[in-house]
Amino acid sequence: MMWYFLMSDAFTFGAFLISYGTIRMSSNSWPDPNEVFRAFPFMSPELHLPLVFVSLMTFILIMSSVTMVLAVAAGHAGDRKKVTFYMILTIIGGFMFLGCQAWEWTHLHGEGAWWGRNPFPNVNGSKASTNFSNFFFTITGFHGFHVFSGVIINIIMLIKNLRGDFERRGHYLMIEKAGLYWHFVDLVWVFVFTCFYLL
């Protein structure tokens, strides 16, 4: 069932990203992501580090995906302690990602970008419409909300595991399902990363 839910969710995200692509194709010019996303926490903004911060976010999410698989693998082996350990690591990874995103949003908001406000000019120097920031905040916000609910699900799984529910049940299928959701969030991020930061 999880797979079918994820399919429907994939189509939701797909619709968002495709509408982003359509609007971008219908615009004569578009803000340069390398100009918009160039800041890094605790570094001078003059340093101009495009893509570095978002690559770090990608790394964090992939890393937490790995610990999630390891938790699922430990669940298959019936190793409750290892499941706990890897679930905690996954939750920490999720919170790190959310923290990074919160910082990025705060930074962009500080630069004057928000829904309906876009201070960044187009590549060719002309004034950009608000489409860019609208899509950016909506889609990363929707994704961030998925990450947040994923963290909540993972915390519930961790508590159930600590209480020994899965051990009594004899299988760790719930961990596996939470894992599927978590990987899906990672998968969506791969596409968001490409669409907003690279293209």
């Binding site: 797979w3 079918y4 399919m7 994939a10 797909g14 495709i18 509408s19 692509g21 359509t22 609007i23 971008r24 194709m25 219908s26 615009s27 004569n28 010019s29 390398n34 100009e35 495009p50 893509l51 570095v52 690559s55 990608t58 790394f59 992939i62 890393m63 995906s65 790995v66 999630m68 698989v69 390891l70 699922v72 693998a73 298959h76 082996a77 630069e111 004057g112 201070p119 960044f120 000019p121 187009n122 060719n124 120097g125 002309s126 004034k127 894992g179 599927l180 990987h183 899906f184 990672d186 998968l187 791969v190 596409f191 990363f193 490409t194 690279l198 293209l199």
Partner: protein
């Protein structure tokens, strides 16, 4: 991508199938997948940096490369992390076939967006003019710059 997939199948596939479901959760392929994903991301970052510094790979070529690399990453996440590769064929098909709709969606909608742009450029002078108005580069205060921008943006509309 398909090449790597087949080599993977020959090295790990039979072993995983031989010893049952549990054994397919080997931690080795997980870490290998992690390194592949990390490597692809690093390559993307490197290409973007080279492009920024030298402008060497054409932006359109680069976008194609990005798309291919993204699909490769998606393939590895779905196949290995989400474990779809080791599921029964029917489940793989119920996922893979609807996902193919995306190919059609993307082509159809992007073409549509592009044709909308072409039409507006042809029939809407205001749309073209908007694109030629330069804004003062960022660095100045945003508030006044935005106010200065509004009058010229309205003038062409009044003239119409």
């Amino acid at each position: 991508m398909s090449n790597q997939a087949t080599t993977h199948d020959t090295t790990h596939g039979p072993a995983a199938h031989g010893s049952g479901h549990a054994a397919s959760f080997d931690t080795k392929p997980i870490w290998r997948t992690f390194w592949i994903l990390l490597g692809i991301t690093m390559v993307e970052l490197l290409l973007a940096t080279i492009h920024l510094k030298t402008g060497f790979p054409n932006k359109y070529v680069l976008n194609g490369v990005y798309l291919i690399l993204t699909c490769a990453k998606a393939f590895y996440i779905i196949a290995e992390f989400m474990h779809l590769r080791h599921e029964i064929k029917n489940l793989i098909m119920t996922i893979a076939i609807p996902a193919c709709l995306f190919i059609w969606f993307i082509i159809a909608f992007l073409t549509d967006g592009n044709s909308f742009r072409v039409l507006r450029d042809r029939y809407d002078p205001y749309h073209v003019e908007q694109n030629t108005i330069k804004v003062a580069p960022a660095g100045g205060e945003e508030g006044p710059a935005g106010k200065e921008q509004t009058p010229p943006a309205q003038k062409p509309g009044e003239q119409q």
